[in-house]
Amino acid sequence: MSNELRPDDLGEVWRRQKVEHTQMTLDEIRARARKFQRRILFRNFREYAAIAVVVVFFGATMGKYPPLMRAAAGLMIAGGLYVGYQLHRRGSAKTLAADLAPASCLDFHRRELERQRDLVLNVWSWYLGPMIPGLAFMVVAAGLANPGHLKHVWRFVSAYSAVVALAFYLVARLNRRAAHRLQRRIDELDAMRG
């Protein structure tokens, strides 16, 4: 004898499927927790190590530079410290999943989309932007410090700056579009909440 499958029957088919009865012992879980902590520590270390290198390198050598280059090194250090502060403030090294564990699925999706949107939209202002003044000063200072090596130093600086500015502009435009797409998806989720 055979019966046609109805949606409610499918629920029964679903719930009666063979499962593997996977369990983790508490010892296995604790071992995984230790591994997880090590991974977080390594990620934190990686994020701050690059900043530490910038600060230590320019801090240790800036005394040897001419005044303009010294100002550039100072700006690089300030930019690095600012980025470090922002990384700390924004908690980029925190564990998102742990923070959002009790959130409803919709809230979780929404916050994840918001995080991605803010990342593409604001990364310039706090992650890349703070290093630009130092880099720009450094290009100018390097050009002025070696006038013999570069005949048309200002033309070089202008062309270099124009290329960098164009690249920044194009990336910023792509980021804005990505942010708009993400915002549309956030709006869709908000509409579902009713």
Partner: protein, 176 residues
């Protein structure tokens, strides 16, 4: 020490009560057996960690499903980035032409495989609703877990029933 013990107890309780449902949840999200095992361990670990902050604001079942879905959805998002897979919504599946041409001589096992194939192509939120429906949860519980309004849950469930009926009924699907 007491907090740790409570965390362990809650995890034990959740694993005992919902272990099989979590297995099915991992199957809904991940087709590859090895990756699925990893995902399931990730879900169990996320659960244990989350119980460090369990405050009883919602039922244990709602908590377990929320944490499990959020962990699994993160997994899907990571996989999608790696594989550039395109996920669709229930609306798109409902509007698409019926992929099953001709009668389907489906036993339970085949029906299950097709069901899984259908579920795995869904966006996380739609997947979470269809999973909860198949697990036998009522609309209010699905709303609590997903955060969707009751009206939206009702609409989605209606859509799910239409899709399931079309996919498993029109072709002459049978249970042996």
């Amino acid at each position: 020490m007491a907090a740790e013990s409570s965390q362990d107890d809650l995890y034990r309780q959740a694993a005992a009560g919902f272990g099989d449902a979590l297995d099915r949840l991992a199957r809904a999200y991940e087709a590859d057996a090895d990756t699925r095992r990893d995902l399931l361990q990730e879900i169990h670990f996320a659960l244990w960690r989350s119980f460090g902050g369990f405050d009883g604001r919602c039922s244990l079942r709602t908590w377990v499903y929320r944490v499990a879905h959020n962990a699994a959805a993160s997994h899907v998002i990571r996989q999608r980035r790696a594989n550039a897979a395109v996920l669709v919504g229930l609306e798109e599946i409902e509007a698409a032409p019926d992929p099953n041409d001709g009668p389907l001589a489906a036993g339970r096992r085949e029906a299950l495989e097709r069901l899984l194939a259908l579920i795995r192509q869904l966006k996380p939120l739609d997947l979470q609703i269809i999973f909860s429906y198949l697990e036998g949860l009522d609309a209010a519980s699905i709303g609590e877990i997903t955060g969707l309004s009751p009206g939206n849950v009702a609409t989605k469930i209606h859509r799910i029933k239409t899709i399931l009926t079309r996919q498993f009924h029109a072709g002459g699907s049978h249970v042996e």
